[in-house]
Amino acid sequence: MKYAVTDEGYYGNFGGAYIPEMLYPNVEELRERYLDIIGQSSFQEEFNKLLKDFVGRPTPLFLANRLSEKYKASIYLKREDLCHTGAHKVNNTIGQILVAKALGKSKIIAETGAGQHGVATATVCALMGMDCIVYMGKHDMERQKPNVERMRILGAKVVPALSGSMTLKDATNEAMRHWINNPTDTHYIIGSVVGPHPYPDMVARFQSVISQEIKAQLIQEIGNPYPDYVIACVGGGSNAAGAFYHFINEEQVTLIGAEAAGKGVDSGESAATTVLGKPGVLHGSKTLLMQTADGQVIEPYSISAGLDYPGIGPMHAHLFETGRAQFMSITDEEAMLAGIELSRLEGIIPAIETAHALAVLDKMEFDKDDVVVINLSGRGDKDLDTYIKWGKY
């Protein structure tokens, strides 16, 4: 279990809970209770029932024949894009809204980048009849307009974050400030494996259903639960955490995270944290962080709002430091081309975040009997504007 979180919330050198006192009682309450709450059979029953009947799980594991032919390996797509709301994010929001109810909270806040987590949060709030406020960078509200309106239709209030580069980091700052100002009745549903302990572990547990299903589905498909590769994109790292979770201690499975290189890792407009980051503290945890020598956070850039974040979750920082997972940097251009390729070869338009994972294929040399699972974290409906603006199809 050398990759598991410690009781104090550390993954190796990363993790912990670096928060001002105003947040301490809330985070501590969550830390003390989350394992008990999610371990209860009534919780598990309700969680699993909602995943099945509301989200539509299990999601298929699809053998992508034409993609397999092109890259000369057996390539499977884990179809998280078929989850209700269009991405893996809802696995976590279902879990956290049930935790919030168990904690007696009546209001929900969230941050969002691509808007998928915001939509997934607004959705479960509508389902459970809870008030919902979502913070979203103003820049992201512009590039993910359909998701802003989806949240509003679902009854959520969307508040623009106006500081910094007006993207995910700034939305997270605003959500944390809101929580400081509303500590008693509000639960903060963080959307990735980031934030103070216990969030990274809690979110990873809720997303771990992805790799749990992959194992069962691979037994059906190939008679063996272990693929040779699991590939996922990494913004904060929740879909990757879910796809890696049950394979982490199986060293024969190669784990690959795809980070957003933006316009190139040396361009000054990038979000490739494992290349450009150093250990630091942001949003409550110690992790790899893009920052200046003075410790000021560098504004990241990616064409995909969901990967446009200057850090990665502490679990991934640890997987990187130990070499257990490899991380690859994918440029905007490479991702867009991979997104178009999947559309043409398999009839699936992926989210641009997800397209970063697909772009890894072109950089790999597989053996022809390799089994490769790509976590198809979300669908591209929300990204049509970006595809259209990019134009090369």
Binding site: Y18, E21, I180, V297
Partner: protein
């Protein structure tokens, strides 16, 4: 020489006025002068903020001052040099306050030693976990005779207040409300009840009440319950508008203490 913060609280346990401002605001060169003007105007204690790109515990005023300071090129090494400069003339206790990340990049031990050498008397690092302080830095800070103030908030349990008090030296920073910095308006009854509760606890340290102290009324109310109070956002708003820092700082401090 004894730590100036400890000396202050030995001599004075009522109406202590602490002023917080962001290093490098309104401009890079003002950090030193503001400290001098504050001493001349009659403040008791100076807290200087280390600017950070992502100040999550701060409201709009202090956020904006952080951004202006960083855009103006403010850094931790520059601030330490300025503290040295301040120390040539100013005798007031100086506390350096900041988010953890810039301090980590500088090196926490190195920062502790150099802050002390520059003439600082205390530190406040709101996102440094208590346990991490106790295991890694407490003995060094004791050896350097540098004080550490931790925050408590209205949602902090009594048991934890005592833990925080035991780890703190100099004073305990009592946040007045569940809020980010910069609240306006008068205190609510539940805040007064919280101040009352704090004043009856048997803490080893004096406590200063901060967040939302913005005029004579809120300052004197806070002083009824604690050893004094900390004014930040209101001071920074004044700096932002001022054309004559010396005169306006004098006026600001006088009004806070005496009313109009």
């Amino acid at each position: 020489m004894e730590n100036r913060l400890k000396t202050l609280f030995k001599k004075k346990s009522k109406n202590v006025l602490s002023i917080f401002y962001t290093a490098g605001f309104p401009t890079h060169k003002d950090t030193v002068a503001i400290a001098q003007y504050l001493e001349a105007a009659g403040a008791d204690l100076i807290e200087i903020g280390i600017p950070f790109s992502d100040p999550v515990a701060d409201g709009p005023t202090i956020q904006a001052s952080n951004k202006v300071a960083l855009d103006g090129g403010m850094t931790l090494p520059i601030l330490l040099a300025q503290v040295k400069e301040i120390r040539k003339q100013v005798k007031l206790p100086i506390v350096l306050m900041g988010y953890l990340n810039p301090v980590i990049q500088y090196g926490v031990e190195r920062f502790i030693k150099e802050a002390k050498a520059a003439g600082a008397d205390g530190l406040i690092l709101p996102d440094l976990p208590l346990v991490e302080f106790q295991t890694h830095y407490q003995s060094l800070m004791q050896a350097e005779d540098l004080c550490m103030s931790f925050l408590i908030s209205p949602t902090t349990s009594e048991e934890r207040i005592y833990k925080i008090d035991a780890a703190s030296t100099g004073f305990v920073y009592a946040v007045s409300a569940s809020s980010t910095t910069g609240a306006k308006g008068d205190f609510q009854p539940e805040q007064l009840a919280y101040f009352e509760k704090l004043s009856k606890l048997n803490m080893q340290n004096q406590h200063l009440i901060g967040f939302g102290i913005h005029d004579h009324q809120t300052f004197s109310k806070a002083c009824e319950y604690g050893a004094g109070a900390i004014v930040g956002s209101a001071f920074i708003s004044m700096l932002e508008k001022s054309n004559d820092l010396e005169k306006d700082i004098h006026l600001f401090v006088t009004r806070l203490k005496k009313g109009n």
